[in-house]
Symmetry: C2
Subunit: 340 residues, 2 copies
């Protein structure tokens, strides 16, 4: 029988086993291990010998009665773990793991009952704090219902509670980078194609785009942003529409990379050279889209991993009684490839 | 000051606080809460009143000395959390959460030192078991180094240890579904374009494809599978190459959806109608690719969420001393859209 087979079936030593082997009560074994309580040195040594013999490991998860800390943090995602929350989770896990803090993962899938269930479970397990993240950049109400007696940091989707700690992407600065890049290159007839108007990510980026164009004494070539959905198919349709309305459009700034890819496909299929005749800038820097597009997309990187990392650091500060309430905006980065 | 602000800074009650308020020692408070030890009923009631007043919650994380179970499971990903491991994680989290088992997430990023660090941490926290998952379907060596005294289930990437428990996708059955679908529709001149030959996912699918074609008295139209990378760009290039070698190719079976999408792009741009002139079948059912492709892709769904769910159930069985060693293959599903 192999080692791996044995480890599958081997029962783990419990504190009762240790106590039995040492010939003491469970309470005495517990006090021997925690270093509390009076007992004869020989008794403590018998318990420690039993621990060694049985390979018993006292749990780090039990909160210390002296500090109240469990060195565990809850990571709660509110709408599945997807393309946006994954890098946030990884950034947070990396920052917390470096501090030897473990991460309890839970996914509420946008369901209130699941959220309450997970929240109660995190409280029962006495996590030191919670990071809440989601797919959308729309503000969300603070966690409530179950009494949340620990610090909470909201990543990507900010909390509407003004005293809460939120870490989000700086959409205004991201749009500024894109518009500056296009305007500096001499583009003046710029279209904006983006997602649904009821998503903050679409509405905010459209508003900032119009604002920064106005700062450069420009306006959108079609007079308004084009709201649709976040898909390539919408990018393809929207490009047709924009070119019909404003055939002299010289650049598209798109609300995400999928839309930008759809736009470049339509341009290429109509024999319009990107970037020579028309430039295209995307948003997100999702490499599956940006690298497969023809040509590869110039885009705005929203630094999702950094959002997760900073959220974790803000949480650690709050756990140390140094909370930083408010909305922390993480800067974006322009990634120049071939489309603009 | 708002409620949310207060919860950010409020210190959590510790067992010491409870003991102090009840006027007993920490040891007495502990015994009162665990129901062990002799004490006067009034003393126990004073402790319980203090617990109520301070909203103190005893940890569920401490392993019970009687069962040794912490009701916590480790979920370890070996190469980041990506498109493949995410649905596996979600399936496992769902199955475990329903059983009120919490999930400790750790990501080793393919780094041996990180793996040892996380493994030690999971052991120190006395998890009841571990699920290991990765991006690749290549077999991996069992966890080692740190003494792993709990059951382990390998999901997606099987363990090379024959006594270990692995849950993987049934690649043979997936290829059978694809080839049956094409052959039944009358296709006889089939090409296979896939990823790198040193990836099990590419080598296995190519081998099964040739085998099932042979069962139908057919062989690959170009005489061999075309290995490359998992990208759309490779799909586009490979389609050109196949059509040069075998202009009468009537179907492409591709090793993933990105390759299949690249193939359909080349076919469309050469004026070849999909599926009327040439059929295309992908692999993975990654909706970002299958739905954006023109036409939307017929593909093989590898049921990643189900792999995670079954891995969790196998782990719970093993924790209950009912291990099921060996490789468990989860069937795939043919998803018919417009490309074949």
């Amino acid at each position: 029988m192999s080692e791996s087979s044995r480890t599958v079936t081997k029962a783990r030593a419990t504190l009762s086993d240790v106590a039995a082997l040492a010939g003491v009560s469970v309470g005495t074994a517990s006090r021997a291990l925690s270093g509390t309580g009076r007992m004869r040195p020989e008794t403590r040594q018998r318990v420690l010998d039993a621990v060694h013999t049985l390979d018993f490991r006292p749990s780090q998860q039990a909160p210390s009665p002296y500090t109240g800390r469990s060195w565990t943090v809850g990571l709660m995602t509110t709408d599945g773990i997807g393309r946006f929350s994954t890098p946030v989770l990884l950034g947070a896990e990396d920052a917390l793991g470096a501090g030897k803090i473990s991460v309890l993962l839970c996914d509420t899938r946008g369901d209130v009952i699941r959220e309450q269930h997970h929240l109660q479970n995190l409280m029962d397990r006495r996590v030191d704090g919670i990071i809440v993240t989601g797919r959308r950049t729309d503000p969300r109400p603070p966690l409530e219902g179950v009494h949340v007696g620990v610090p909470v940091v909201y990543a990507l989707s900010p909390s509407t509670g003004p005293a809460d700690i939120s870490v989000v992407s700086d959409d205004a600065q991201g749009c500024q980078l894109a518009i500056d890049h296009l305007v500096t290159a001499g583009h003046t007839r710029i279209a904006h194609v983006t997602g649904p108007a009821h998503h903050a990510a679409a509405a905010d980026r459209a508003r900032y785009t119009e604002q920064f164009l106005a700062d450069a004494s420009l306006q959108l070539v079609t007079g308004k942003p084009h709201f649709g959905d976040w898909s390539e198919a919408w990018g393809r349709r929207a490009a047709e529409m924009v070119l019909r309305t404003a055939p002299d459009t010289d650049a598209f700034f798109c609300g995400n990379d999928q839309i930008a890819r759809g736009v470049t496909d339509t341009l290429r299929e109509r024999g319009i050279s990107v970037p020579n005749q028309v430039a295209v800038v995307g948003y997100d820097n999702w490499d599956t889209m940006t690298l497969a597009a023809r040509p590869p997309l110039t885009t705005i990187d929203v630094n999702l991993t950094e959002i997760g990392r900073i959220a974790a650091l803000r949480l650690l500060d709050a756990i140390d009684d140094k909370p930083t309430p408010g909305i922390h905006r993480i800067p974006c980065r322009l990634v120049v490839r071939d489309s603009a």
